[in-house]
Amino acid sequence: MDLHDLHDAFAELERRADALPAEPFVPPAPHRSHTLLIGASAATVLAVAGGTAWLTSSGDHAGTQDAGSPPSAPVPSEKYGWQAYSPLDSTTPAPSSAPAARPPVASTEADLERRFTAALGDLATSFTVTDTGHSVTMTMPAAPSSAPATGTPSTPSIGGSPSSLPPVQSNGVAIVGVLTAADGRHGGYDVQMFQASPGEQAQCDDPDRSHCTLSRVDGGTLAIGDEPLEGGGVTYRGEYVRADGVAILLHVSNRANPKGMGGLLASAPPLTRAQVEQVVTSSAW
C-alpha cells in the first residue's frame, strides 16, 4: 500500500462525515469552576482560577469561596453543593454514626471530589475543579438512531433541535483542575473513577515507553508511569483497577494541564510517582 491508499481512506471517512444528518449545534449550559480545600495544619492563602481559597487549621474539610468573598471564615457555597464539608456551618447535619452504603463508583462530580479529597489525605492542601466529565459506555444500535431528543434546550439553539446520539450509560466521572501539594507546589491534575469492563486491567498508555511499570496490588492491577512533555514538563500517571472492577485513573503534571498544555507551574509535579501510587490504591475511594 502507498500514500494513495491512505488518502482514499481519508476521503471515505470524510464522505461518511458528510453523510451525517445536518443536526444543528445547541450550546450547553455553562458550569462554574470552584475550589476544594483539604484540612491543613497551617493557614495559607492561595489564589486560584479567579477565586481565593482559605485553609484553616480545623483538621477537617473546610469551605471555599468565590473571588471577592470576605476571607474571615470560609463559607460553603450552596451552588456547588458541598455544604456538608464546612465545620463552621451550623446548619450542616451531623454525620450519622452508621454511614449509608455508598456506590462503589462515584456517580457525581461532587462525590468524586469528596473521595479524591479523602484519598489525598495529607499529600495536598487544595485542588481546583475547572472541568468535569463523564465516562460512558455507548451501546451501539444496528442502525443509526434517528429518534429525536426530548425536552427543551435551556439555551438558545443555533438553528433548531439538539442532535441525538446512541444511548449511553454513565460508568464514571472525571474532574480536572490544579492541585496544590503539601509543600506548596502546584500542578495540573486529572482524576477519573469508573467501572472497568469485565476482564479489563490497568495498562500503560504507551507500552513502548521505558518509564511505566505494571504490578499486582491486593488482587487488582496497577500501572504507574510518566510521560515527558515539551519544555521540561512531565506528567505522572497512575491507574489502578481493583479486584471488583472499579478503576481509578490519576494524572498529575508540573504543567497547568496534564495533557501537556498551559504554563510550567513547578520543577516537578505536585505529587511524586510513589504518592500517585498511594493515592490511586487508597482504601478511601
Binding site: P27, V136, D190, D208, G260
Partner: protein, 167 residues
Amino acid sequence: MQVRFEEYVAARRPSLLRFATVLTGQTWLAEDLVSDVLGRAYERWGRIGSVAEPHAYVRRMIVNDYVSWHRRLARSRPQADIEPPGAVDDGTHDHAERDAMIRRLDQLPRRQRAAVVLRYYAGLSDTEIAAELGCREVTVRSQISRALATLRLDLTDHPTPYATQER
C-alpha cells in the same frame, strides 16, 4: 476582529466533523467530540474568538480530547460503522484496499493515529504536531514511524500531505 461563535459554527462545523471522523474513524464518536468541544469553546469564545486562528485552536481541542483518557468506550464496535447503510458507490473499484487501510488505522493507538492524521491529512509539520500532542518532535517522528509500519505504507517517494487546508 473577533469571529462570532454562531458564524464560526455555521462555517466550520462541517470541517470539524470531517476532521474528527478522519481522526477517530467513527462518525458517532466524531459527533460526540465535536459537540463536546464546541460546547466548551462556546463558554470561552470571548478569548478563543480573538486568537489569530480560532479554527486551529478548536481543532487542537478535538485532538486533545481524542487522545485524552476521559473517554472509556465499549470495546465492541458495530460492523455498521465500517459499512454505513446507504453507502453510495463513489466509482472506486478498489474498496478492499481502502477498507483495509481504514481497519489498520483503527488498530493504531490514539496518539499514533493522531500524529498520522495531523501530518498526512491536516498537513502539519512535526513541530506543529509536537505542540498539538504535547510531546517532543523526536517522539512525533517515532510515533509516525511506528504507525506507518502498522499501516504497511510504502513511502519510497517523498510523502506529501493529503491537504494543506481542511475542506
